[in-house]
């Protein structure tokens, strides 16, 4: 076929196919807004300023997102907002209950038409300030009584070590949050992420917040192309693993380019600096949009079989290499996501007994996110939940990477049961947990010191 200017028809049809058949889309454009200047000595006044600033800054976000999506023919699925950790914003008020601020965020998000607003957060890896303490006090209530607010707590960094007191408390808080939302499958917990080495510019929920080093306002992009990568891998059943890595890399380049284009255009039209493209491969429950299925297409009978960690290492690395070339600024989490409830292949793997929590934990050592959107029995003790978090934090701390836990202990459910969260949060099979007790270790509390990796100077 002749060349149209500088594109071949094959290239043009490839782009069309990626969007229309393979589920290529921009998963999210997330507007980061600093609320540092909204903090006052009066919680009421702070709430007023927060509402004003968010509704003003994000007023055009949804409309511009729609415009750009239509102009480029690439769907922008979600428009979201990330704010300064509320621990910081609410602290000068001296209040120990920051639920009013959560409600304000919820109302502001609704007013501008975004489906999630992240940042009801605290960074406690070294210890607590009054504001951090207030966030902890307010968490279960805030998550149970708001729709769109997402919370995150950073409990460890490579530089600071692990705050085991915070981790122990979170075990309790997660259970409390699940109890308060027991009638909805414990859904409050689906809006709470516990981090080690949390990034300041992650555009994905529920862990998004606008970090202290960020500017007044910034636009970050999260793309999504598991379907595209899956199709590419399936087309090459005979390629050796080296060639497969190159194929994935080239595909990741193309997918990320769309994020770069959309990011630049949306931020230009909003008059806001362009932050980063997060390269993460984020699955959905749409047909073929599964990271687990990519691993299976690489050659595993079922995700979770031996070989899964190696396959995921290949995938994650190839995605990063392709994506890095595609964007001027790469950031956020940038890796492969393995959220159980949002990936049909993961759900199948757990249901068939191929994928265990232990294997998931191993996988988090080589990919970006962590133990995400997974359900455990409602009677799992708080110390066990804390210990799951501690294990995940240790992986992140030692390997100088981000890890996270988003666990939902579902009241009344046992291993093998299925819980429906609905909508974007999907459905999850309740997983078996090792119930030998870590209580004595968790009771010790204290801080696990920063590892020698921290001494990098």
């Amino acid at each position: 076929m002749p060349t149209l200017f500088s594109f071949t028809p094959e290239e043009i049809l490839e782009t069309i196919r990626m969007v229309q058949v393979e589920n290529l889309d921009i998963r999210t454009i997330t507007l980061g807004i600093s609320l540092r200047d909204c903090a006052t000595g009066s919680l009421k006044e702070t709430c007023r300023r927060v509402y004003d600033k968010i509704t003003r800054r994000a007023e055009k976000l949804v409309a511009v997102g729609e415009e750009v999506a239509t102009a480029y023919g690439i769907p922008i699925v979600n428009k979201r907002i990330a704010v300064t950790p509320i621990a910081q914003v609410g602290e000068p008020s001296g209040e120990s209950d920051l639920t009013p601020l959560a409600r304000t965020l919820d109302l502001a998000a609704e007013a501008v038409g975004v489906n999630f607003i992240g940042g009801f957060s605290a960074l406690v890896h070294k210890g607590f300030t009054k504001g951090d303490r207030a966030i902890f006090n307010s968490l279960p209530e805030a998550l149970a009584t708001t729709e769109r607010v997402c919370a995150s707590i950073n409990v460890a960094t490579t530089r600071a070590g692990m705050n085991m007191d915070a981790i122990a408390e979170l075990g309790q808080l997660i259970k409390e949050t699940a109890q308060l939302t027991a009638d909805r499958g414990g859904i409050g917990c689906a809006k709470l992420v516990t981090f080690c080495n949390a990034p300041e510019d992650n555009p994905f929920m529920a862990g998004a917040f606008h970090g202290p080093g960020e500017p007044e306002c910034v636009l970050n992009v999260g793309i999504s192309g598991p379907g595209v990568v899956l199709a590419a891998v399936r087309q090459h059943p005979e390629a050796d693993l080296g060639k497969l890595a190159t194929i994935i890399k080239n595909t990741a380049f193309k997918v990320t380019r769309m994020g770069e284009l959309v990011g630049r255009e949306v931020s230009a039209r909003l008059g806001v600096p362009f932050g980063i493209v997060d390269l993460s491969l984020a699955p959905t429950n749409a047909l073929g949009d599964s990271v687990a299925e990519i691993l299976e297409a690489i050659g595993l009978e079922r995700c979770g079989a031996h070989g899964t960690t190696a396959a995921l290492a290949l995938l994650n690395d190839a995605v990063k290499k392709g994506g890095a070339m595609a964007s001027s600024y790469v950031g956020g989490l940038s890796g492969a996501f393995i959220p159980v409830s949002e990936d049909n292949g993961m759900i199948r793997a757990v249901e068939s007994g191929a994928l265990s929590l232990e294997k998931l934990e191993a996988m988090t050592a080589v990919c970006s996110v962590g133990l995400d959107m997974f359900a455990v029995p409602g009677d799992t003790p708080a110390e066990v939940i804390a210990a799951i978090i501690a294990d995940e934090a240790a992986i992140g701390m030692i390997n100088n990477k981000t890890t996270a836990v988003r666990v939902i202990p579902v009241p009344g459910k046992k291993p093998g049961d299925m819980v429906e969260f609905g909508g974007l949060l999907g459905r999850a099979p309740v997983m078996r947990v090792n119930n030998f007790s870590p209580a004595a270790m968790i009771r010790r509390g204290g801080r696990i010191p920063a590892p020698v990796q921290a001494l990098g100077n």
Partner: protein
């Protein structure tokens, strides 16, 4: 907001029948849009057409033109997509 300048790529996909090219180009002619290049194949009965157009002289804004093309496509039984050319430039070139 108007985006009616620069180049766009129109793709037409569907079952081959008489009048597709005429139907689409009629919309473009009325809108005063210049066609810079056309490529077309018919594979078995499947029809694929790609056009690069220049929207600079267009008397319709991007979104109105897009709507009209989509509607014409529905009449003709084909799927018509119009996208800013940047999409393809960004994806396929470094």
């Amino acid at each position: 907001m108007t985006v009616a300048d620069g180049r766009a790529i129109i793709t037409v996909l569907g079952q081959d029948r008489v009048g597709i090219l005429a139907g689409i180009t009629a919309v473009l002619a009325t809108a005063n849009v210049n066609i810079l290049d056309i490529s077309q194949t018919i594979l078995q009965e499947f029809f694929t057409m790609i056009m690069i157009v220049d929207l600079k002289g267009s008397n319709l804004d991007f979104f109105d033109l897009q709507k009209q093309l989509k509607a014409r496509g529905e009449e003709l039984g084909v799927q018509v997509t119009m996208q800013q050319a940047e999409v393809f430039k960004f994806m396929h070139r470094i």
